[in-house]
């Protein structure tokens, strides 16, 4: 694999960039693999990558019905943070965040991780107490956060309106090492690395059936033929319920549309991510200069990658009030993604009733930030049968009533 | 006894439409079997009006009966008469399964009148308010911007609009903003 560097770019420039090779191969599927991962989004690719990197398992195929990174990996608002309340969440998200910090170097592919900091605004007394609780929890979890004063918020985000007529800003939970990354690059970087390890990324390959023999998985049927495997990892976000259906079990999830939008690009005016959960909006500025804005999910099951306009409306309303500066900016583009939401709004990384089938889903609106950690833990789960990062996220918790509820600290999981 | 005060205390705004506090009004929630003769009789004798058809409003002299849902009516009457009308209803419905509650103070009651009335309301409610679609006597419960609201139209083209008391200021300011001069849309009225 050709090494990327400024020098390489300069050298190629002299030959008008004719010498660059493919970032990842495009092979035909083999008859059998040790492991098949369904879904070449961030989580699927990351799982494959760490299967190879940490466990030497490289006879792996990653099947993607569309184009790699084309699901929620390429549709989210790229926020990376780990200031979660509950231990299991904090563990996997912090693992993820720390992996993100060095991902560009691991890959030799710039995913533009930008630790610009994330503020979650506290706009009611209840939120203040909730975030103070989170700050305490984080301190014991090894996650560096602090609860900051309104004045400090203003310092970090000069364009914010602290005393809006409705919800004054009473403080915020600040994670300085949180930030953003270039979402497509994360998928592409993992894909390039997996391909370099000899794994097969097979795009435009849709799984239409899952074959089992005496309660054990034997392979999958696809539009490009049958492919056998010993282990199968389902990592397909919004379509998990559909895949589980093929494997003959049901999941405690529902699929809904989440919306996001961007403004036209403007010169830098905000150097961190701000989340305002009380008024349902969050915003950051991309390197291109667009204000990247996210909001809530539709209230009903939906597999169209569209959302209803009024949700965008609610979000924009909140942000115009919180950041008067954006009032005269324009919405450039609005889109939706399908997210799978579980009974406790926390993900599922678990064995399944079918031997050899593992499922990674239910990230709801919080998937992108978890990609490396999720891949790391899920790879371990698939390779070794259990993983400290995943053990609390099993399907059994819904039977036992052992939920991992993040909404309790008013921290909506975006 | 002290003087009762409406949340808007007589507020009024004149713009494309006139927005005004409709003043103290008696309002009684009646839940029961609207198809039963007992309820029909009780309402008839309480406010002298029939049971309106689905999503209709029947009005009389200072009284009205509004169809709220398949098992609920809202009776409008003079504020001072609420107690006796409730007594009458409860008397008439004795032995029936019903619920009567005084909600006169739980609501704010507004009038939106003038040529701009339809457009003023159509800026806030996701309802077809064209002359053809929304005619006098119809009663509509819906959303006005961010709060629930209900209204009907009288022959004179005045909207009789009800919201919860606590959001009276919000509702008034919404309507006022919608009726600001210069905001005429030019499709209705």
């Amino acid at each position: 694999m050709k090494h990327y560097s400024a020098f390489a770019v300069a050298r190629e420039a002299l030959r008008y960039h004719m010498g660059w090779e493919r970032a990842w191969a495009s092979p035909e599927p083999k008859k059998k693999y040790d492991v098949i991962i369904v879904g070449a989004g961030g989580h699927g690719l990351a799982t494959a990558y760490y299967l190879g990197k940490n466990f030497g398992i490289t006879n792996v195929a990653i099947l993607e019905k569309g184009w790699l990174g084309g699901g929620n990996t390429g549709r989210n608002t790229t926020i990376i943070r780990s200031n979660y309340l509950q231990d299991p969440s904090a563990a996997i998200y912090e693992k993820s965040r720390s992996l993100y910090e060095t991902l560009s170097q691991d890959f030799n592919y710039n995913i533009m991780y930008s630790p610009r900091g994330v503020i979650m605004l506290a706009q009611t007394e209840h939120e203040v107490r909730g975030y103070q609780r989170t700050a305490h929890a984080n301190a014991l979890q090894g996650v560096t956060t602090e609860f900051i004063s309104p004045a400090r918020v203003k310092e970090i985000v000069p364009i914010i309106n602290l005393d809006g007529p409705r919800y004054p800003v009473l403080g915020g939970l600040w994670q300085a090492r949180a930030g953003t990354a270039r979402h497509d690059a994360v998928a592409w970087g993992y894909a390039r690395a997996c391909s370099a390890m000899g794994m097969d990324i097979i795009q435009k390959c849709e799984v239409t059936g899952i074959s089992r023999d005496r309660g054990k998985v034997t392979g999958v049927t696809t539009n490009r033929g049958d492919i056998a495997c010993d282990k199968l990892g389902l990592v397909v976000a919004g379509h998990s319920g559909h895949l589980a259906d093929m494997a003959g079990f049901r999941l405690p999830i529902e699929s809904v549309a989440l919306q996001a939008l961007v403004s036209e690009p403007i010169k830098p005016c905000m150097d961190c991510v701000v989340m305002a959960n009380t008024v349902h909006g969050y915003m950051s500025q991309s390197d291109k200069g667009e204000m990247v804005i996210g909001g809530g999910t539709d209230g009903y099951n939906n597999y169209t990658q569209r959302g209803s306009f009024h949700h965008a409306e609610e979000t924009v309303r909140a942000l115009v009030e919180t950041f008067p500066m954006v009032a005269r900016l324009k919405m450039l583009r609005q889109w939706g993604g399908i997210v799978d939401v579980t009974g406790d709004r926390s993900p599922i990384l678990s064995k399944t009733p079918v031997d050899g089938i593992f499922i990674n889903c239910g990230w709801g609106t919080g998937g992108f930030k978890a990609i490396p950690g999720s891949g790391w833990g899920f790879a371990e789960l698939m390779a070794k049968g259990h993983s400290p990062l995943c053990d609390e996220f099993g399907l059994d918790r819904f039977y036992q009533g052992r939920f991992i509820d993040e909404s309790v600290a008013a921290g909506v999981a975006h | 006894m002290s003087e009762a005060i409406t949340p808007l205390n007589g507020a009024r705004f004149e713009g494309l439409a006139t927005i005004e506090d409709a003043g103290l009004t008696g309002m009684i929630t009646l839940r029961g079997d609207l198809s039963s003769k007992e309820v029909k009789a009780a309402v008839q004798n309480a406010v002298g009006l029939d049971i309106p058809a689905q999503r209709q409003a029947l009005s009389g002299q200072g009284t009205a009966v509004l169809w709220m849902s398949p098992d609920e009516l809202l009776l409008m009457c003079p504020y001072a008469e609420v107690a006796q009308i409730i007594a009458a209803l409860e008397g008439a419905l004795k032995g029936q399964h019903f619920l009567v509650a005084n909600v006169s103070d739980a609501r704010t009651f507004l009038h939106v009148s003038g040529p701009g009335a339809r457009e003023t309301v159509a800026k806030l409610c996701p309802v077809d308010l064209s002359e053809a679609a929304f005619t006098p006597g119809m009663f509509r419960r819906t959303r006005m911007a961010q709060v629930p609201a209900a209204f009907w139209l009288d022959e004179a083209g005045t909207f009789h609009l009800i919201c919860f008391r606590s959001v009276a200021d919000y509702a008034f300011n919404l309507l006022k903003t919608s009726a600001l001069p210069g905001g005429g849309v030019g499709v209705y009225g």
Partner: protein, 109 residues
């Protein structure tokens, strides 16, 4: 932006007048039920790509709950009907089969 017709008050209104309340026709499992039954009742959702029977409340309207048969992929609404029923009425099922030959009630895995 969906349009729904409330079978209780007859209003045809936009989504913002309504509130979705999850899957319909769930059998409540109370005390005495097994962990499995209770889990299924609470969490194992159908979440189909296709026909979904769901609960809606006309919260910015008559306040009544009702059921809707809606396609989660095309968003087509096959019909709405009162909540006081244990199964979708025949006319709704017929409307669905007309559009999706071979479809039957409770045909999911």
């Amino acid at each position: 932006m969906l349009i729904l017709t409330c079978p209780c008050c007859g209003v045809t209104g936009e989504e913002t007048e309504f509130h979705q309340g999850g899957e319909a026709h769930l059998k409540r499992h109370g005390p005495g039920a097994s962990d499995d039954e209770f889990h299924t009742y609470m969490f194992a959702k159908e979440n189909p790509k296709g026909v979904h029977f769901e609960r809606w409340r006309h919260n910015n309207g008559c306040g009544k709950w009702f059921h809707a048969a809606r396609d989660t992929v095309t968003l087509e609404v096959y019909g709405t009907y009162p909540a006081q029923t244990l199964e979708p009425p025949q006319d709704i099922r017929d409307a669905i089969t007309a559009k999706r030959p071979g479809w039957t009630w409770r045909d999911f895995a």
